[in-house]
């Protein structure tokens, strides 16, 4: 009986070693940023207002 007890203690320290830790290394990163372009950027820079309309209607 004392032997079994000793083994249990030994096993316990073996399973969860006091000097070792279990660690989940699930680091959470921040999102990436992408540069954006828009088909309207160019128009709005050239002329203000409803240029998309006038441009498309002109071509019609």
């Amino acid at each position: 009986q004392p032997l079994a007890g000793g083994q249990a203690t030994e096993l316990q320290s073996k399973v969860v070693p006091s000097k070792q830790i279990l660690h989940s290394d699930n680091m959470e990163m921040e999102p990436e940023t992408m540069e954006t372009k828009s088909v309207t950027d160019y128009f709005s820079k050239l002329h203000m207002g409803s240029l998309v309309y006038s441009c498309t209607s002109k071509r019609k």
């Binding site: 000097k19 990163m29 921040e30």
Partner: protein, 407 residues
């Protein structure tokens, strides 16, 4: 008429992507490309948005293709700002694909042009991207290495240190610009870089700043990320109570945000933390919660990990019946998923338990024989198999100044 319809299709694509439906947006952009346009600036904008849409859809080969088209086009028409943007996007895509050297060249180009144009916003964004590339590079080299845990090879350390420098440079500019959202992102990733470098106190300081900004914006996902990262850093500082508190907040937010996978991760972290605190009842409670969600999500690897952890915790409590139950379940799952080292670990656990329960060696000769083979292959009796069987999991010496191992 043709011009109009290309533009109209592209505008609809933009609207859909902004609304979060990238898949539908892609169809409209591709239709717009089919129709075609003589306006190369419009075409460049379409390529760029197609690239970004595919990036968000995780179709990186396609993203690469379109950002490359955009870069070529921007150079053709001499649009320097457009070239900078395309280079940045190409760099981010190359990073995700693991092509770090080319990614660095592209992100550097983004940075150089931004400086040339005296575009502070662009400069800051390029610095953040460069930080991300070096961070990924460092992490990647470390994962591929066969070095001992706690020993950071020089190339890894250099890459991570460069990442930290770029994040710091970014922070200087975005602080000047008063861009709090960008500050939040940089603090978060700077914190993670310090964590990998083993600077856990600095990691905590950065994540605390990240947390503050997340609260300012009411950004609960970012808040949850900060709690989780703070928990991780406090584990390595040996302050397990504080770590548990942060993981509890992570869990609370994960539940509010109804993210089951994140909830499972938080339970798992809490289970491990209570193991470190030697509160095995609580550890079991959280590992069981993790197990239930892993089963629900059909996450076999998570389920195996939970069983392994539960086996350990029950063994620590001296509940050998439950310990054997979970060790057997761990063995079953390891076989199912073809995790050979997990299988051997489970065998080791079972033979250990049988020994404690006083079962004779002769009752299970084959199992013991196999265990001894494993034992002999271990360095100093360290259960390598246990470590390798756990994806994202680490067994390491509890010395705070040492960095995590990268298994």
């Amino acid at each position: 008429r043709m011009e109009a319809s290309c533009l109209e299709l592209a505008l609809e694509g933009e609207r859909l992507c902004k609304a979060g439906d990238c898949r539908a947006g892609v169809s409209f952009f591709e239709a717009a490309v089919q129709v075609g346009t003589e306006d190369l600036r419009t075409l460049s904008a379409i390529y760029s948005q197609l690239g970004n849409a595919y990036f968000y859809l995780h179709e990186y080969a396609k993203a690469l293709e379109y950002h490359h088209h955009d870069l070529t086009l921007a150079r053709t028409i001499g649009d320097l700002l457009g070239e900078a943007k395309a280079s940045g996007n190409l760099g981010n895509t190359l990073k995700v694909l693991g092509n770090f050297e080319e990614a660095i060249v592209c992100c550097q180009r983004h940075l150089d042009i931004s400086r040339e144009l005296n575009d502070k916003v662009g400069e800051a964004r390029a610095l953040y991207n460069l930080g991300n590339v070096y961070h990924s590079k460092g992490k990647n080299v470390a994962n591929a290495g066969t070095h001992d845990p706690g020993e950071l090879p020089d190339d890894v350390k250099n890459a991570l240190q460069k990442a930290a420098n770029y994040y710091e440079e970014n922070l200087t500019i975005v602080t000047e610009l008063g861009d709090r959202a960008a500050q939040g992102r940089a603090f978060g990733n700077l914190g993670n870089t310090h964590y990998l470098l083993g600077n856990f106190r600095s990691a905590v300081l950065a994540h605390e700043q990240r947390l503050l900004i997340a609260k300012e914006f009411g950004d609960r996902s970012a808040e949850r990320r900060a709690y989780s990262n703070l928990g991780n850093a406090y584990i390595f500082l040996g302050e397990f109570e504080t770590a548990a508190e942060y993981y509890r907040r992570t869990l609370q937010l994960a539940r509010q945000l109804k993210d089951r996978a994140v909830e499972a991760q938080a339970c798992y972290s809490l289970g491990n933390t209570y193991t470190l605190l030697q509160d095995y009842e609580k550890a079991i409670d959280y590992h069981l919660k993790h197990l239930v969600i892993a089963q629900e999500l059909h996450d076999k690897i998570g389920e195996g990990r939970a069983c392994w952890s539960l086996g350990n915790a029950y063994t620590a409590l001296g509940n050998h019946d439950q310990a054997i139950h979970f060790a057997e379940r761990h063995l079953e799952i390891s076989r199912e998923v073809g995790d050979r080292s997990g299988e051997l670990t489970a065998r080791l656990n079972l033979s250990d338990l049988q020994m404690v329960l006083g079962l004779s060696y002769s009752t299970n000769n084959s199992m013991m024989a196999e265990s001894h083979v494993v034992e002999n292959s271990l360095n100093g009796g360290r259960p390598r198999g246990r470590r390798y069987s756990m994806e994202n999991m680490e067994l390491m010496k509890m010395t705070p100044e040492k960095v995590p191992n990268w298994s």
